[in-house]
Symmetry: D2
Subunit: 350 residues, 4 copies
């Protein structure tokens, strides 16, 4: 008999739900035992309810699993949630209230001051916000979130810079992959040979979530880092991998070599504790003049490493560079999974 | 007999040369009478030397024209030049020396202080630099240039802002079409489903050329406008149309309505003099939340109008917005043609 | 006051409805006076109900027009219909019953023996089936249809061959553009960098509709042409323009020159009567070795001409060649419009 | 010390050369010890001479290896060759003459009657043609070839059908990936949003090579299989994976179930002898209605398995179906490698 922990997935049929199933297929600690989705899908076997969009085949272990309704009855203790914002706002508190550890990829509760918004390499210590959550006190349930896919790669690339030199200003323009919009998501007639200079609410999320992740915890609330940030978000005809052109102003002077060293040497709790999904080196600097690129670099570190390149002086701020990360792995499903591994390693599932 | 002025094209087989031929097909003032290209092509009829890459058919009038060697002998007075930088640096002075009016799309001489870098709506008055050119004095030949394709759309969008409110800082990230790299240019294996975060020398050109065009003339030299600019350039899988995410800091406060009015009301010499290739309205602001987009907006004003959209406050500077322009029409061939029309209207061909 | 005939569009918000509006914008004979769509859109102005996906702007004349419910009350005599099959099967007879001339792009009634399936160049004479329709007898209403977008280009390319040499066998493999699936239609995640070797019901439609159009009328029923046909349909990442690889076996021997001449000289009623949307030359043979291509050739003849190329012997049948046609113009909206023009020219609207 | 056999690669910098290096990185039998390329690259370390276009990083073991001139001096006994046709025609005989076992992916010698054109699952027995080669007699050198990338997938899909039911006629239309044209290969301006209905010499190669591989050996010459074949080849905007729409006429009747069983049960020498690069199941039938697709299926069996789908009756011949195979793995580098493994297993390197 398996001694892996049972986990459930709320929103199992979507692109992020599929990635979670893929990443959990042979996971040493967790085992998918419960899948939930919208009413329309409930009662159907997963293979019929989901339109599988990944390159590896749908795992046999979930193909025949019957989709449960999206309610806490029958759900396991640990529930990954990947839901549309409005639905998450309603359902996630219900699950936490019922005693579930909700590891959420949804935007609904991310900016709530007592909900940790965590990238384990950066702010594992924010988990202690959990203890302040009303749900926790009542039922031992809680909610932990990861950020928007476009904020994730950026925050990782900024973290060592912020740690060593202090960020004062951050400018970012994104070129985001279509998988970030889910399935069916972006219509082909909208994006073939085109750029869409708009993603609803994306700039607001980036500008709010990045400082929260790079900030601190003061008692029972998260305090955002003190830098100003401006984001512009675009959709491009790429399948997986968000590319970001970034410029930063620092509080302390730094040379290119110092910044590159800060990236290359960056390690965090996931590396120290050897969490199963942790990439060996979370940030990889590529010194080729034309990298990183989504086609070649999105899958680095099994999609969990962030690629950085083209560090050069910025005439306006201090330094500019390009960041790339896999938006549905490090930017969504893998992020949630790494959060779950961190929670387990720190005893939150006991 | 035609009373149109004879013109020649140096670099006639490239993508920009093709666009020039297309735009000149039924031009009221100019008539293509001479085509020149590299030694390899010289002596061949144009239809055999050029791999025609435009959607309209190759004009009959040039199809049988024999390619001349790239030397001033036999060239008409007016010569459009679209050459690689290194070759242009050698050839363009030869043609000017020989008495030709060289209307250049090449980068070689753009930043030379006595060579005007002109967008007729913005800085038609820079043409008077011509009088200071040594060529002019010697043979009445001269060189006038237009900017890089990515600087062109940006400069046009910035011009009314700079005029009314004064620019202090400009931040731009480009997403550039493959036609900007010529033909064969970008390999399909490099760009399908991909973003390339690098275009050689493009950022340097944007940062140097934009202030020159928005600057002034002091005696016999061009003086760049006094703002700081930072550019990051990316290639995306789009055929035609460069999209740019821009943020600006102004010297005087401006409301969104004032900026939009400045764009909409912007007119220049080409509109006043009704130059044949001038768009009625050079800058079009689109208030849809997700525009401009290359597929839908690049051809606006027959490719000569610049589209702007998404004006919104910038947390870091003052305002951010998106600019789109057709890179081989307004950004190259159409730019050169409008320069030629301006020169004619101002008597420089007499 | 306009003396143009009032026309309505059933299914006005879809891609084909949009193309109809675009093609009718300055039509000499017809004027759009009535737009209908699904219940969800009824009551809204067109500019709000439709997500306009064409490169030319939405005509001012329709932008403010309020969408009517999809019922014959208030509809003009002439109604273009572009509806999903199931809905068309219910609605089109209602409109015909109520006295409307229904010019349909839908698949519902195409194969009904007393409904003409018409390409005006090929089988204008099939219109006499109208007289046999029960609707016609009752209310003077009737239904005329055009074929599936993939059958249209093929039928036009086959028509002169069939006329001069007789078809015995036809093999066709299509590579179809995404606009053929409507909007939102094909998800970008399904087609970027991909081929989908399946389009529901498309092969069946091609195999049934092509022989009907190339067939004859016997009394009150259409009799399909006597050739065997096999179709395989694929979707590719192209915006507009279906490319088809075709092979044919003929009943009489033909040389390449004879076939090319048959294509080049092909004319029909639309050319004789100079119908407003008729291309001067309906079939254009391009002798370049690598043409036709969707990017360069789909818009030929304003999207109404079919391009053919690469005629060469087939080791298995007699001849093979490539056909290209614009799927939403000649293949849908333009086809319906040409049918309407034919009907008017032949007095069916009196 | 390694007891792996030393191998060399002629044409090491091209796309197929890169794939060979990738596939050989941790090969149990072979070790890359010698790289050769054109004069321009000779003398440079591989990392500088090659523009690496694969997703996995360039192996450290070859990055510093200096490129040799393309001549037999210093070459190891076993040489993979992936050269342009004209160069191959000159060089491959020189290497064979000098005693090398030339495993060629080039087209030059494929159709020479005494040169085996081998897919190990299909016609391993054709290797005995080697003994008749003049080179063999003189120096023990020989040449073995694999087919064109588009013929490979087709031949594999046809092999079990031909074996069990006999082929009489084969019709195929291809939709080929850009990687098949090498690097830089297809210009992005030619293929973005486009289809090119022409690949030079590709149809001729398919029509000649497929019957040779499915044929027999009579004494010292290969005798092609006795079926008629017609091919039409198109290029589409796909990175890797050729999709083919196929129709066949059989000599003996077969049901769909029988054909699917023939595919599923098909095994050959590579499976029997467990060659390192042999896929467990060389042909995979997918019963989903819209598969195979390049994005999802090209990598099946590490790129060595061919995917088949959509088997259905053909109104013209007997059966139609879709075939997909990875064009640079099973269709080129992997094919050559499997041939080398077969040669070793059968003692040809002793």
């Amino acid at each position: 008999m398996s001694d892996r922990l049972s986990v459930g997935i709320l929103g199992a049929t979507g692109i992020v739900g599929q990635r979670l199933i893929q990443l959990l297929e042979r996971h040493p600690w967790f085992e998918v035992k419960w899948l939930a989705a919208s009413e329309r899908s409930a009662g159907q076997p997963y293979r019929e309810a989901a339109r599988w969009r990944l390159k590896t085949p749908m795992p046999e272990s979930v193909a025949g699993m019957v989709i449960s309704p999206a309610s806490p009855e029958g759900a396991p203790r640990i529930v990954f949630a990947s839901l549309d914002g409005a639905i998450a706002r309603e359902l996630e508190p219900q699950f936490a209230e019922a005693g579930c550890a909700v590891i959420s990829n949804s935007s609904a509760l991310r900016m709530q001051p007592d909900v940790p918004l965590v990238i384990p390499e950066i702010n594992a210590d924010h988990l202690r916000l959990i203890e302040a959550q009303a749900w926790r006190k009542k039922s031992r349930g809680f909610v932990v979130t990861n950020s928007n896919c476009s904020a994730m790669g950026l925050a990782l690339a900024l973290a060592p810079i912020h740690k060593h030199f202090g960020l004062e200003k951050v400018f970012v323009v994104t070129m985001q992959a279509v998988s970030g919009a889910g399935y069916p998501g972006v219509a082909s007639l909208d994006i073939l040979g085109n750029v869409i200079p708009y993603i609803a609410q994306e700039e607001e999320k980036m500008e709010a979530e990045t400082p929260k992740m790079l900030g601190s915890v003061n008692g029972s609330v998260a305090v955002p880092a003190d830098f100003v940030m401006s984001a512009q978000c675009n959709r491009v005809a790429v399948e997986d991998g968000h590319t970001e052109s970034v410029s930063v102003k620092l509080r302390k002077p730094a040379t290119a070599d110092e910044i590159i060293a800060a990236w290359r040497d960056y390690r965090g709790v996931p590396q120290d504790k050897r969490l199963p999904s942790a990439p060996e080196q979370p940030i990889v600097y590529d010194c080729a003049p034309d990298r990183p690129q989504p086609r070649f670099d999105a899958d680095r570190g099994a999609g969990m490493a962030v690629s950085v390149g083209r560090l050069r002086p910025c005439p306006l701020l201090d330094w500019k560079f390009t960041v790339l990360s896999h938006n549905t792995i490090r930017g969504a499903a893998g992020a949630a999974l790494l959060n779950a591994e961190l929670l387990k390693a720190q005893g939150y599932f006991e």
